[in-house]
Symmetry: C2
Subunit: 450 residues, 2 copies
């Protein structure tokens, strides 16, 4: 018995192989029965010809329930018309386990009920679209790790349990930690600032948590974030890194996950366009462009565009909302690096631009096609005095930052980094705006299972 996987059939043309998987779909036509087998690596059509088969087995296969596990033995044939380019001429089928009737997930949902699908996420992940989406996630994550490993960034995992609610408890999940209170991390950045002083260039990559009550297509309570940090680096270094990084990750998906993008029906020309350089535009200039585009959309846009435009900014000053980000994504067809936001709307640790101290040396990278903010980053305040003043100004508890302040007492250097949300990135690459579909088991305001 020569075992094979569906993704490797090209190595077995005209040979007899045994495939192990599950019955995904079926159709019959006269003496022919077509079984669509999935084995986790792909799908293949297995052709059963009645005169060549045991009549009892053929009859059983005509009625076999979907998702039954089966082992198919047959000859691999080239077939240009088939998805994947091959089909199997079946000699024998062994039923490993017959599935119960009424498998909860239909192959094609005409009116998909998202709650039903999420309730059955443990089964839904077997369907073509979720399966392909998670394949792309797999490629994105490995590409991220390879990118940093190859460039000699050192993985230094930041802790999940953190002792202080440094910036207020609003969006923090609280944990009973023996007799203390602990909080689940929202970002590893402060820890990265310590680790980059030890290793030069570091990154952390793990789950982060936000107890946000908002129910939007862009939010999860549990999501994965990768955060690099570099010692002896500034805002321009971060922007260079963002460009190299995002174009690398997209290129990896185009070359190594193309098959899955095709299954999703993704317009890959949009992704092929994600090459260096990316637009770099100041917050002030970006606001002017948003306001101009807003007027234009209100005057002559589609209904959808008008709706977006109504929510967009009418004057600079605030952080961007979803509508502003969407408009940026309409103006530019590449990820766009918006730098130097007003210092007042950014976190206390952001360094002021010495040329114009009311702006911070920060950057947000906003994806095209409505992807929203993919990256937030910038240069960190490296002066002890400035940082102490910022902590006071923001009315933060100085004691909680004692160790963080040590980094400025002992060998402070200019340093900078960013954070990228994995789910938004996967959603953008897949062309799927719902981040809940880009993580295997999404956690949302009212969703904690399966």
């Amino acid at each position: 018995m020569q075992l094979a996987s569906i993704s490797k059939l090209e190595n077995f043309v005209d040979q007899e192989v045994t495939l192990r998987g599950w019955l995904y779909n079926r159709r019959g036509k006269g003496k022919l029965l077509f079984l669509i087998l999935r084995d986790g690596t792909g799908h293949v059509q297995c052709v059963c010809f009645r005169p060549d088969m045991d009549p009892e087995l053929f009859a059983r296969l005509e009625k076999l329930t979907y998702e039954s596990s089966i082992q198919v033995t047959g000859v691999v044939k080239k077939d240009e018309r088939s998805q994947g380019g091959f089909e199997i001429g079946v000699k024998d089928v062994k039923v490993v386990s017959e599935a119960e009737e009424n498998y909860p997930i239909a192959i094609q949902e005409d009116t998909p009920n998202i709650d039903h699908l999420l309730d059955n996420r443990h089964l839904w992940i077997r369907s073509k679209i979720p399966h392909a989406t998670l394949r792309i996630r797999n490629e994105v994550v490995q590409a991220i790790r390879d990118f940093f490993y190859e460039r000699e960034f050192i993985l230094v995992d930041s802790p999940i349990f953190t002792p202080n609610a440094c910036e207020g408890t609003t969006n923090l999940f609280e944990v009973d930690y023996f007799d203390e209170k602990a909080y689940l991390t929202q970002s590893g950045q402060l820890y990265n600032e310590a680790t980059c002083m030890a290793h030069g260039k570091t990154y952390c990559f793990g789950p982060t948590f936000r107890a946000e009550k908002s129910k939007t297509r862009r939010h999860l309570t549990e999501f994965w974030m990768v955060e690099p940090e570099m010692a002896y680096a500034g805002l321009d270094d971060v922007m260079d890194l963002c460009e190299d990084f995002l174009s690398y990750v997209v290129e990896r998906c185009l070359t190594r996950a193309r098959k899955w993008l095709d299954i999703l029906g993704r317009d890959v020309t949009k992704l092929e366009n994600v090459t260096k350089p990316f637009p770099r535009i100041s917050y002030a200039d970006a606001c002017a462009k948003i306001i101009e585009k807003r007027a234009q959309l209100l005057a002559s846009g589609s209904d959808d565009e008008k709706r977006i435009a109504k929510d967009a900014m009418t004057e600079p000053g605030d952080d961007f909302g979803a509508a502003d980000e969407t408009i940026i994504g309409m103006i530019f067809d590449k990820p766009t690096m918006v730098h130097r936001y007003p210092k007042s709307i950014k976190a206390f640790y952001m360094k002021a631009d010495p040329q114009q101290p009311e702006y911070a040396l920060c950057v947000d990278v906003i994806g095209p096609e409505g992807a929203g903010e993919l990256i937030g980053g910038g240069e960190r305040e490296d002066s002890l005095d400035n940082l102490l003043a910022a902590i006071k100004h923001h009315k933060l508890p100085e004691e909680a930052f004692k160790w963080y302040l040590d980094l400025r007492r002992y060998g402070s250097v200019p340093h900078a980094g960013f954070g990228l949300g994995v789910e938004r990135t996967v959603g953008w690459i897949c062309g799927n705006p719902h981040v809940r579909e880009t993580i295997p088991f999404p956690r949302l305001l009212h969703r904690l299972s399966p």
Copy 2:
């Protein structure tokens, strides 16, 4: 100005470079001043010759505080006697930021105070031993990811928030999840069983949590675990995978992290010995060997060995304790695969051995040199009826397992996998028995900061 990193000096012999880092150590000798610079990638001796330098700068460098950040410009010289093989003939030094006096960490701790060091973990990670240890962790983690990626296991992250305290709340951390209770994951295995039915071969790799009150050198409340799972696989496949996997990870460290193992003073011959095949021994046979070795140690062992022997088992039946594992690690000089433990002491989802149903088709891999259990795994129960009976027998809430039982209702297949703890593995490879030193920011019973 030609920037360079210490790890790449071989590319700049006899050239002038600028290095950016921190003052790690210093000694003077007549007209010479030796500055040991660290830049995150390594350490190098920078030689200042008084007659060649600005007197004011020379005087400042003679007193410069440790961990001050400095930028050193000079010529790279080959020097066989130096660690790393190079030294720098200094032309100029720029002080970026002078560190405060009394840096809390001494370069060589004669009587290290572990609590003080852990309190200052954000600085301690700059010291040679923690720095090298975290470099090895970086290599171990990337090796793990590459191993599974290259073998086409698909990364499918399991959730951190889980809805049910399936097996009791004793060691679980509880979280206020809006108006519900959630628990932090102890293992992604049950989810992996769902994902391997979708992708064939999967793994998850993330932080896991145990609210254990024990204070041992082998326990953390937050640690990282990698868990592969394969559909259409059994116990032998898992043992083959364990062998391939552990020997790959060790080999990667030997080839790519050798420099850091040397800094730790690790006896690498012990690691070079970690090649396939590993011993495979049944629980029953392992018990007999432990009991035999126990008697031998009690009769003629050292005091330490006698102490261990006293804690070891005197008859088969229980799970192994630390002493039993240590003895296994004395008997065999490779990771040892102990299979088929009594079913009664293993989790409900373990499949019974059809040949001897009182034993489970499971395996623990026990490391040599007192490393303890590195891996636990085995074949999972794939029969719905048997699993329902096990859930009843263990008095577990059937409702909480509804989705898990679905995996046996729809397309059940033999499947198997394992879990490996990253910190114990890093500790074993580093030759450091304390897992608290193998994770950047350890979380322990009474330690939640920094």
